[in-house]
Amino acid sequence: MDFPRPLPVPTPTSEPFWSGIKNGQVTLQQCDDCSAWVFYPRSHCNHCLSPNLTWKPVSGKGTLYTFTVARRPTAPQFADEIPQLIVVVELEQGVRMNSLMVNIIPEELSVGMAVKPVFHQQDGATLLYFEPA
């Protein structure tokens, strides 16, 4: 049985993030009231619960907060992507996100390394991956 690779289905709230990625631009929400950066996209600020969030373009640069090299697929849908270089990236704005690293061998991954965005085409969708900066 062949399992399709899971892709994000944007919600009304998250749509600006994914359309930004499609156009090669990382955008994040910033709270108008407390200035906190918010990720993942939300209806309300997770620092002060303000509903006043504004989408802003950012560089997408950050550092590797942590990583794992999955030698066994985390789900059958990822069986042909072994090893999966699963990472958590901390952007310059302080928010963290899940992603995958590309253009690197597993042995060169290190916590704290500088990374920059890669707009990865996958089955008609665009995902935000990262590579060494």
């Binding site: 399709p4 919600t11 090299v69 999955a70 030698r71 985390t74 789900a75 699963i86 996100m97």
Partner: protein
């Protein structure tokens, strides 16, 4: 404020852990009936004494689980709770039961966690591929579906590996110390005939040479799923005095959660068990030095290490030194997971793995732990962990 220590665990029950279940398959309702029968018999209570229940979700009924269970067992209950805290559910059930008893709304609460396979549905639907993400939600609108799943950060292994790698970068990583946790617990399992790894001790080299699943986690640092199931019965002071065994009082509790996906935790290496254990210690008037046995939720070796640190048994970042300096077996200087833990005894399906820790703590304090009994065991810290360090809870158990 807090628990006054007027509720006690007086009976326990468990199904034998088996990697390949050989018995008849049973629905959770049927397992609930059997576990309840066994637990009240163990306590010396009768069915009529039971007036409360705490459960996790059951596969037979996506809503109204407590009423369905009460009806199936023929119970009249004044307290019913369904706890949705993953692997922390069992520990959290027990403190909720104790709190309800101390409030005076009930006197005897069964907390059960079935984990045997259920019968195969003859009208089975085609397999839903989103179920392959384990406990990770694949429903539209869930942040996990949108921001975890597309990047392969699904199920448990990757999340705990991310935590371990961050720990390594922050504090260093003595892989032999992490492996020793699995080894010492496996030694404990040799005193537990119900453990799936009974008769199969391992060495540190065995762990480090086992298959790498997600760096830095080897397969022998990850729980072995199995069939099983267990239950406890928690009662009032008054009933506890009528029961057969030494009452094991619930004298402190705590619970903490902030994130579902550990990606967003403020610091991935600082776990929710910290505030949970601090609350449990403060409530009971006990300190880490008073603990005779630690039964710590152990989905992975890193979970045990961080629980030892964050519960206050040693300083942050000194966990591996602590593990190297202590013998974690039941005969050792700091007994941990004396039944083998879920790493050594198996992780029974559903929420049953997390019930194995309180059941073992109770058995130790009742002095009924047979070939793995800790001498003079009076005080235990029990922890539960759900999701990817998403939620943790802690209770202090003390013998009367």
């Amino acid at each position: 404020m807090g628990l006054q220590g007027h509720a006690a665990v007086v009976g326990v029950a468990d199904f034998k852990n088996e990697r390949k279940y050989t018995g008849q398959r049973k629905f959770h309702l049927e397992q609930w009936a059997e576990l309840t029968r066994m637990a009240i018999q163990d306590a010396g209570l009768s069915k009529q004494d039971i007036d409360g229940l705490c459960c996790a979700s059951i596969p037979e009924s996506s809503m109204f689980a407590p009423a369905t269970i009460a009806e199936y067992l023929g119970l009249n209950v004044n307290f019913a709770e369904m706890v949705d805290l993953g692997g922390a559910s069992s520990v959290s059930m027990i403190w909720r039961a104790a709190a309800a008893i101390e409030m005076g709304i009930c006197e005897a609460v069964v907390c059960a966690a079935p984990g045997l396979p259920i019968p195969s549905n003859p009208n089975r639907k085609p397999r839903d591929p989103t179920r392959l993400f384990g406990s990770t939600s694949a429903l539209w609108g869930s942040p996990q579906t949108e921001f975890d799943v597309p990047y392969g950060n699904v199920a448990q292994n990757a999340g705990y590996a991310l935590i371990a790698q961050r720990y390594a970068a922050s504090y260093g990583y003595d892989e032999r110390a992490l492996a020793k946790i699995a080894v010492d617990q496996r030694t404990n399992a040799q005193g537990n005939p119900n453990a799936v790894f009974y008769g199969e001790p391992i060495s540190i080299d065995d762990v480090l040479q086992s298959k790498m699943i997600a760096t830095p986690l080897h397969i022998l640092e990850i729980v072995m799923p199995c069939a099983g199931g267990n239950a406890v019965v928690v009662v009032s002071d008054r009933l506890a005095r009528k029961c057969k065994h030494r009452p094991v009082y619930v004298t402190g509790c705590g619970e903490h959660l902030t994130t579902r996906s550990v990606t967003y935790a403020e610091d991935m290496t600082v776990t929710p068990v910290g505030p949970a254990a601090a609350s449990a210690f403060a409530m009971s008037g006990k300190a880490p030095k008073d603990v005779d046995v630690l039964e710590a939720y152990d989905c992975y070796t890193i979970t045990v290490l961080l629980t030892i640190e964050d519960s206050g048994f040693c300083n942050k970042g000194e966990g591996t030194t602590f593990v190297n300096e202590n013998d974690l077996t039941f005969k050792g200087s700091f007994p941990v997971n004396t039944h083998g833990g879920q790493l050594g005894a198996g992780q029974a399906a559903g929420m049953a793995g997390g019930m194995s820790q309180p059941v073992e703590g109770v058995r130790q304090i009742m002095a009924r732990a047979d070939g793995r009994q800790v001498a003079n065991c009076n005080t235990a810290l029990i922890t539960g962990t759900g999701g990817i360090m998403s939620e943790q809870s802690a209770i202090i158990l003390e013998g009367a």
